[in-house]
């Protein structure tokens, strides 16, 4: 069970780096969607034989939300805004990749320093979670287009979800509550779409959001 899980977490960590390295928005959205599906499958593997209906529900909601609904909305927002590329990000692609790789190594090292229960000792859940949170932050800070920032938020959220898997048996409610974070993303994207219709926010470039300052 742990090897299969670690394989999926490793895939998610690899996808973090792919996300950091992609400048085209469709491929970024695809990467995030794949990561979401991989995450959604994890509770099923983690539980193995004794599947509870609540856990199946969490898995289904995650795959549907992170894998299909939100990426679909993001694609719609992208078409509405008619932009395909992230040109001139605040942090360039190569520096962000390097930061992401360094962050992943740091995450593995940091996770080694934290005490874990014996049943979690061999798994990559904690390093995977920390690395995804870091990747999410790099994208949030380093990208100028609103859609890329939303993708960064999604990866941040995926990291938190990974961490939540540690607790899924003991406190399912707390983990299920994490689904609400997806709702936040939904509001983000709807905001973009609605605003596109009202034409207040033309290029989806957050660099233009500078009217409010001291």
């Amino acid at each position: 069970m742990i090897p299969a899980l670690n394989l999926l977490i490793g895939l998610a960590m690899g996808l973090n780096l792919v996300a950091l390295g992609s400048s085209r928005l469709p491929s970024l959205i695809r990467t995030v969607a794949t990561q979401g599906i991989a995450l959604g499958l994890m509770p099923l593997i983690l539980e193995g034989s004794d599947l509870d209906w609540r856990i199946i529900l969490v898995a289904l909601a995650t795959v549907a939300g992170k894998g299909f609904v939100i990426p679909g909305l993001l694609k719609r927002a992208m078409r509405a805004a008619n932009i395909e590329r992230e040109i001139q990000p605040f942090i360039g692609l190569v520096p962000s990749l390097l930061l992401g790789a360094g962050g992943t190594i740091a995450a593995v090292a940091l996770a080694g320093a934290l005490p874990l229960l014996p049943e979690h000792a061999g798994s990559l859940l904690v390093p995977g979670a920390l690395a995804s949170v870091l990747t999410g932050f790099i994208l949030l800070i380093g990208r100028a287009k609103a859609i890329s920032q939303v993708c960064g938020y999604l990866i941040l959220e995926n990291g938190i979800y990974l961490f939540g898997l540690l607790l899924i048996k003991a406190t399912p409610l707390l983990v299920e509550a994490g689904v609400l974070l997806d709702l936040t993303v939904g509001v983000f994207v709807l905001g973009i779409i609605i605003d596109r219709i009202q034409r207040a926010f033309d290029s989806l470039d957050t660099r233009k959001l500078t009217a409010l300052h001291e």
Partner: protein
Amino acid sequence: MNALLLILIPLVGAVLAALWPDNRTRPRFLPAVGFMHAVLCFRLLAAPPAVSPEAWLGFDPLAAAVLPAVSLLFFVCGVYAVPYLRIRKERPNRVFVAALLAVLGLLSAGHQARHLGVLWIATEAVTLAAVPLLHFNNTPRAFEATWKYLLVGGTGIALSLLGSFCLGYSSLHGGGEGNLTFVALIAQGPGLSRPWVLAAWVLLLVGYGTKMGLAPMHTWKPDAYGEASGIVGAILAGGVTSVAFSAILRIRSVVNSAGESRVADHTLLAIGLFSMAAAALFLLGTRDYKRMLAYSSIEHMGILSIGASLGPLGVWAALFHVWSNSLTKGALFLSAGNIRRAAGSPSLDDVRGMAAVVPRSAAIFVTGMFAITACPPFGPFFSELKILGAALRTSHGLAAAGFLVCLLFAFFGLTRVVFAVVDGRPRRVAKAGGKRFRETLGLIAPPLLLLFLSLWLGLFTPALLQNTWTAAVAQLFPNP
């Protein structure tokens, strides 16, 4: 049951308001629901119900110590909303009224949450419900403010979920069974895994601190308060921030029971002083009187955080300050809203001489400014004096000195902006659509009432409230 009613009444009101067909009469839901909520809340305050320790939601002493202030503020703002939305006829208010009522219901849930997960869900839901409120004016500037609010607030809320997970894991690692009510976590106390408790404390302080608006996580606040209408500013500054503060207090008592109270106290003190200093510096520079209120709110969040770091005495004073700050801020936001309507601009570059244009609002604005900068005999003076006393009694002399210096600079900043707005010869006012703003009773009485409440709180702090604050402190420090 009554405790649940506090949550359900506003939520049902929100649904009804969303279905109500008439744009003109819909705002009346706000004072009506606000009144019911306030009556229920104060009845519960006078006769506190027994809360079972296992309950996930309940009107416990901490909820009783803060929620009535929010309820009172909401009711007065609701009364103000009726004439306010009448002069904003051009904007449909269906979403606005429904979202405002939903915010009240969710705030009641957040204040009464006795479970880590429920607390997070309520805070998250408040964050989302407040989005349409910020976007009410529907200008590009309002959109920018909403976007920044969502981005910064969303990240904060995500970090607080991560922190909640860490706290949950610390309980699991210490042999807990996954019971995440605060009572159970405190009972587990020293059994919690220390490294995870510390990780959780940092993440939760950053997460809920973002919601509260502590520097350096405050960046959404000036934009949001600057672009939102006065009512929304008052509810955000007096209600939403207080739910984040009580969340931090509840979590702090868990960290205390785990034996890490020194770390918690030091971080709260440092972040509080930093918030006050940052706010004071920005107050000296800002040229926008609504953003000024946001910085003042950051300063007062810093004061609350400092109070919370000073042991039982300090927490008592901080709970007092929640009340005096909420009510006084409410008066300031509503009167600033009037001035903003009359002047057509929030910037000092365009606005001056408002004492001649809207004399009553200007008088409330100036008095409110003196109240919030801790001039006696208003509430903030006494609550800040109590915090200062707690600092000196726990031998935090340096912190007390820093506190006073920041207050002084904030006073300079606030007086600078407020007198620039009020004094001088008015510019041509008719720019904003040619229709003159009239100071009707409905727009003047609510902020005036809030100001009187602040005065009354300072002069005759009721014994009932004092006892409630003492009970809340006893809840937070179960074994002194």
